[in-house]
Symmetry: C2
Amino acid sequence: MMLAVSACVSAPGSAGGPATNDEQTVAAVRAVMEAQQAAWNRGDIEGFMDGYERAETTMFVSGDELTRGWQTVLDRYKQRYSSREQMGTLTFSELEIKTVSPVLAIVDGRWRLARAADAPHGRFTLVFRRNNNNWRIIHDTTTSATP
Amino acid sequence: MMLAVSACVSAPGSAGGPATNDEQTVAAVRAVMEAQQAAWNRGDIEGFMDGYERAETTMFVSGDELTRGWQTVLDRYKQRYSSREQMGTLTFSELEIKTVSPVLAIVDGRWRLARAADAPHGRFTLVFRRNNNNWRIIHDTTTSATP
């Protein structure tokens, strides 16, 4: 599974020089998202959810709905994607990763599910927070393209 | 125009005590959004856009679309809402304002446009950044409820 990544670092001096903190952040965040995509595509929703911070404050926003808490977000995914057919094949693309503080990054990108019957898609904005050396999603706002 | 605000401060110690930085942030962010709502409802899209940081990096995400740059976001609003009828009456509600760094806040809430023919609505997630003492939106991801 190829993951098209167009990373965009907001701080200067990252081109060609030694690894900066921004480059480390981009690499760490990208690794979390690649692991999420791989987990989804082997039907492992719990593995996918490992990308989110295991906290009551973790938030997922989509359509008219705000879901609060890691476990509740997991339950929502399990309910909406209760079979491999519904899960389809997930691709993230056009990732744009911006560090906004030493422990916070904002990620924009596109999502697409290839399924037998349809191919829902849209965009997302994620807020990642670093806890020790682990970057995890604390806030996910996902949009859907009008069919 | 009443604005229903349910502010939620992430830091402890804000109940009943003297004003904290978090309380100041919540008040400042709320004031920007109240000004945006008031501007929209007098047909003043430029005034509404004063809530956004005047920068090339300002981003607006909706549906399948990412719009980049303050001027481009303004142009998009002017194109989509080219008459008072299309603008309708905007209400923000269920605002939840969380400070995530001394200069960053994340705001979740609902939007609704009351119009003669319909009432589109949905949610939004805003990232506010403080520049001197001015809080402005640097990133807006807006969802739409399925009609």
